[in-house]
Amino acid sequence: MNAIEVNNLKYRYHDGTEALRGVGFSIATGECVALLGPNGSGKSTVLLHLNGILPEKTGQKATVKILGQPVTAETLDTVRRQVGLVFQDPDDQLFCPTVQEDVAFGPQQLGLNDAQVAERVGKSLAQVGMADFGRRATHHLSHGEKRRVCLAGVLACDAAILVLDEPTSDLDPRGRREFKALLRQIPATKLIATHDLELAVELCSRAIVLDHGEVVADGPTTELLNDEPLMLAHGLERPHILWHNHPH
């Protein structure tokens, strides 16, 4: 069964901008896929559809299926449990005064009791290497730390599918390296929208290229990223890691 299935997905913003013009792809369970494309190509808009944040009103014709189930108003609760969304700006996601409370937010919404919530919080903070940060104030963390806490907050919900929007933007090289290692350890199905092409090569076996709200390429990551004309035509480039293979 496919974890994610998107068929002919269209979306237009309030101001009339056509963000998506018939996007379609499917992702098998356990796959790790990169969603590439220039700024404004519709990557984030696609991601927001995967757990029903968009469209504002779910129509009769469901164009997104999660684990075989169409995303509709009735299935929204289940879908949001299954799909964990990590947002691009950690400050949008971390809204509680302390780290602990923020990570606990998801499990609490799931209706777990205090002991279960505490266990999940402890486990997911340890998983991202932030076990000692529970009592810290969220607004005093560094950007890299905020990212990790965001990931912990989503891991605590125990989602089968992880959807990440630009997980390594604004991170320093070490932060990027560590975050990539962290992502690699997580067994969930992953869809990662990113401009970090090295991350795409290292983590994702498959890539989908989006431009002007349409899928322009879908295939093995190295094959697509080695296709220089294709990359340049869609605001991307052949990443350094594919030019010559030695560690920097």
Binding site: P97, G106, T138, H140
Partner: protein, 203 residues
């Protein structure tokens, strides 16, 4: 970038800091209500309150200059009322009482808020059954105040780096643009925050 805002917690290990949030808030509330209701003739009461607050300041080791700055920051609202009163024939007798009472109340609030972590204050509110919607609103306000302050500081710096004449007259136009921008950014962020909350099951 995190701008460090004028925030001070004195000596975290002091007896005042260690005191539970609930008794501290309860005591402060009592003190404030009693001070507001007490007729100004009872000078001993006001002296007593001032004494207690002074002792608190000394014990918590909050810097005096910081406290004075905070009081000054909050006083325009109070000073406005006091001044209006002082100019009215019937209010002349009142203005000193108003100034003393509001000064003591403000100092109490400043002392409590600077010796108690915000999350503990919220926990107390929750335990006395303040509606959860109100608590969420307060928590969000406190959380994003810093983000918004950071954002305005970033905008200020960016503006300053493109301001080439040192003594440029104050422009209402610029202020208006900045306030408008901040408002738009805040409302857009609010939408994204709400999305992120929904993504984790908020209803």
């Amino acid at each position: 970038m995190n701008v460090s805002w004028d925030h001070h917690h004195g000596r975290p290990g002091s007896p005042i800091h260690r005191l539970g949030a609930a008794p501290k808030l309860g005591f402060a509330l009592l003190l404030i209500v009693a001070t507001v209701l007490m007729p100004i003739e009872h000078r001993a009461w006001f002296a007593g309150v001032a004494g207690v607050l002074l002792l608190t300041v000394l014990l918590s080791r909050l810097p005096l200059l910081f406290l004075a700055r905070r009081l000054l920051m909050l006083s325009p609202f109070v000073l406005g009322v006091v001044l209006v009163n002082a100019w009215q024939p019937a209010g002349r007798a009142n203005w000193l009482a108003l100034a003393v009472k509001s000064g003591l109340c403000l100092l109490t609030v400043i002392l409590v808020s600077n010796t108690t972590p915000f999350s503990q204050i919220l926990r107390v509110l929750k335990s006395i059954r303040v509606p959860s919607l109100l608590i969420t609103t307060i928590a969000l306000m406190h959380r994003y105040l810093f983000v918004l302050l950071d954002e305005s500081e970033r905008m200020r710096r960016a503006r300053a780096s493109r301001t080439f004449t040192q003594r440029r007259p104050f422009h209402w136009h610029t202020l208006g643009t900045v306030v408008g921008q901040l408002f738009i950014r805040a409302s857009e962020r609010a939408e994204r925050i709400y999305d992120a909350m929904c993504a984790r099951g908020w209803k």
